[in-house]
Amino acid sequence: QQQVKQSPQSLIVQKGGISIINCAYENTAFDYFPWYQQFPGKGPALLIAIRPDVSEKKEGRFTISFNKSAKQFSLHIMDSQPGDSATYFCAACNQAGTALIFGKGTTLSVSS
């Protein structure tokens, strides 16, 4: 019940395309859902986060879609660029600022 399931494990997208990464959770007590971007040799960087009271949040080319009834949320990267090539992790917790449960990660490669 504490798991966050992330898919796909890896993703190859052409430059300018849309990258979509999906996550699902079981624990209905989760109320904060961030996405992190990690480059090799670096710590994870907070990309965007959402709470379950909204169905979508957009920041630049990055959008989170949230489906509370299905207990699923996804990250959409519009106009994907080679610089977006990184590992992306979804996460969840039951109160922002508490320990996070991470998905297994998605390695994104954007080909030029």
Binding site: K42, P44, L100, G103
Partner: protein, 114 residues
């Protein structure tokens, strides 16, 4: 966002020895967390470190192996004791900050145990 530094950034250690990792934050924070990221894997929480109280460890992690100190609101250490090659990982500290209490990560300490 908080600026978080970790020392050392990387180290190569012999089995049976111990390494203490430092985490410094540029502002006072209530909660700090220590995570482990094994090669090519996701992040797993080791423990939550609150100032003035004992750290709270997750299942599979024990204080004798991973003692943690939290002497003030800007600093914490994690010690990896009696190391074995299976302890080779990236160790990351994180803090909660901001209006939504977002969690920010340090750059990590890459540990290799021979």
């Amino acid at each position: 966002s908080a600026v978080i530094s970790q020392k050392p950034s990387r180290d190569i250690c012999q089995r049976g020895t111990s390494l203490t990792i430092q985490c410094q934050v540029d502002s006072q924070v209530t909660m700090m967390f220590w995570y482990r990221q094994q090669p090519g894997q996701s992040l797993t929480l080791i423990a939550t470190a609150n100032q003035g109280s004992e750290a709270t460890y997750e299942s599979g992690f024990v204080i004798d192996k991973f003692p943690i100190s939290r002497p003030n609101l800007t600093f914490s250490t994690l010690t990896v004791s009696n190391m074995s090659p299976e302890d080779s990982s990236i160790y990351l500290c994180s803090v909660g900050q901001g209006t939504d209490n977002e969690q920010f990560f340090g750059p990590g300490t890459r540990l290799t145990v021979l």
